[in-house]
Symmetry: C2
Subunit: 337 residues, 2 copies
């Protein structure tokens, strides 16, 4: 079985992480907001940021859940991209609000139809780089969104967990009075199972509300994992650069090979997903699994039933082997669709 399914890096976490002191020691409750040391270290990664503008959470998931609950107005609309990360619509509904959608065209925001919907929304979720689309939004578009969201007084939840996995430019941090940036140690530092994410916001009200909620819904994020996250930040920046080059190679290979195969897809600019189009995508996923021993994710899970998500979080030899199987499938079965 070759898995193009997984949304997590196959690379190891930075070695620095293992220098944490396991024990013998005590593990008392930590600050609900997160360890001061970790927040101070993260704040240095953002322009004009202060440690008190961060809340350390159980992964990006909890940061999104709590932020939505903190800003919740019953029945209000929250704009989500289509395709979306599959949790978003659930998160919105769990917070007592209603998902509304803006379409990405080949991964990109179409600003006019987006703005039409924005004025009626209470909040909007931006996910650049995108899971599952692998797209990165243009800086001009993001700047325009900043301006209009501030004008309409709309909360912006910016899920930037793939910010260190952009192949074409530096990340552009969305900014604004009600911008709530979501990030995570999972992807950059391969710490998925340790569950360390965070919220960064200059909206004091929201930060305060999130901390208060978290004191009742989970209390502090695991203190040992927070120490490991602090250590991870001490890894040389060249490590991230090196890893990005590795991801870029894989991206180039999978994109070029799929193009050769005649698949309809766009060149991913970030994250580690390609999102090719298929007739009857659901059947494709099922046949690839049962007949070709390949795991892929049905685009329908992400709100686009015309496509299939392939993650390239596996080494290039396995990508090659997996794509050979896809090729065989295309030649043998898919023609008859």
């Amino acid at each position: 079985m070759i898995s193009f399914g997984s949304g997590q890096p196959d690379l190891p976490p930075p070695a620095e992480l293992f220098s944490v002191r396991l024990g013998p020691r005590k593990f008392p409750y930590g600050l609900i907001q997160g360890e001061e040391k970790l927040r101070t270290a993260i704040a240095k990664e953002y322009p004009n940021a202060k440690p008190e503008q961060f809340v350390i959470t159980n992964g990006a998931s909890e940061a999104i859940d709590l932020t939505l609950r903190a800003i919740s107005r019953p029945g209000a609309r929250v704009l989500l991209p289509v395709p979306y990360y599959y949790s978003y619509p659930h998160n919105v509904r769990f917070a007592g609000m209603v998902p509304d959608y803006y379409k990405l065209r080949r991964g990109k925001i179409e600003i006019e139809s987006f703005l039409n919907k924005l004025s009626r929304a209470h909040a909007v979720l931006i996910n650049s780089p995108s899971n599952p689309a692998g797209s990165v939004q243009d800086v001009e578009v993001l700047k325009h969104i900043e301006k209009m969201a501030a004008k309409y007084n709309v909360h912006v939840i910016s899920d930037e967990i793939y910010k260190d996995l952009i192949y074409e430019r530096e990340n552009y941090l969305l900014k604004g009075p009600h911008v709530h940036t979501i990030n995570s140690f999972s992807k950059t530092f391969a710490m998925c199972g340790l569950r360390v994410g965070y919220l960064f916001s200059k909206d004091e009200e929201v930060v305060k509300k999130v901390i208060e909620m978290k004191s009742h819904t989970a209390m502090n994020t695991n203190v040992l994992a927070q120490e490991m996250a602090s250590k991870a930040l001490q890894a040389p920046k060249s490590l991230i650069e090196k890893q990005r080059n590795l991801w870029r190679e894989r991206r180039d290979f999978i994109y070029a090979t799929m193009l050769e195969m005649g698949l309809d897809l766009w060149k991913p600019e970030g994250a580690f997903y390609v999102f090719p189009k298929f007739k009857d995508a659901n059947r494709v996923v099922s046949e690839l699994f049962h007949k070709y021993k390949i795991i892929t994710y049905d685009g329908a899970w992400f709100g686009d039933p015309t496509r299939v998500r392939f993650s390239y979080a596996l080494d290039i030899e396995r990508i090659k082997k997996g794509l050979d199987r896809v090729k065989a499938f295309l030649n043998k079965e898919y023609r008859s669709y």
Copy 2:
């Protein structure tokens, strides 16, 4: 400063916990429901329990939050004890329901008034042993509640996180088709900051819903902490017994000393709190803090403004020293109240 405030054991965690393998290794996502190994080990601690009836959570807090959200019906009543653990009313409201209250009389449930309210409730929360009351409910009362909750088809959330800290008898596990038991590694194994708790329920629907919600709101509980919890369960049972004896000594001492001082309180049967009565409890907490360098918690935070919570999670020498200060306060200031 002497703190009678803390709700966490001052004792160290079991040494077994430090035998976990920190690395170098990878930390991929774990099962949302929790590691099979840990659930299997916990299931052995409960009669007729199966690993699939457990969900490992970020402490008891997340188990309560998710269980309430999973059973939520907008506007439905959830019965809470008074005094209560201060998060409960928030948890109920966060889940879109309405807190209603049943009174504990000197820590004990009064079954008639309780049952009157039960028939109109969607869910009830039982917390025995109680934080802050230090009380343990009688087995006959608990059995009666089981029967009536089943009859009225009311969800029972049984917060038993102090189950291993009962001085008078063994814990009585509340049972029933819609009983959702909440527990934690925090108190028994002094693992507060590591955040490992769990839900145990024979209600398949609720377990399924909690797992589904958790996949969107937090994903797996920290995998390393789960391994540490598995190791903690390998500690000899005599350790828990030894620690219980230590807690009992402290309990006996603080209770006898406060009685001698003439304070109105009941003898705690579980957990590590005493809850004496004071005129103007809020002022008492403030004066103890500012003039006598003693931290205590205002009963108002727990829904009973006539009392003050003292935790005895500190060594007996410090308890003694702290109580001397309380005595001085009683003799000098309190007379004038």
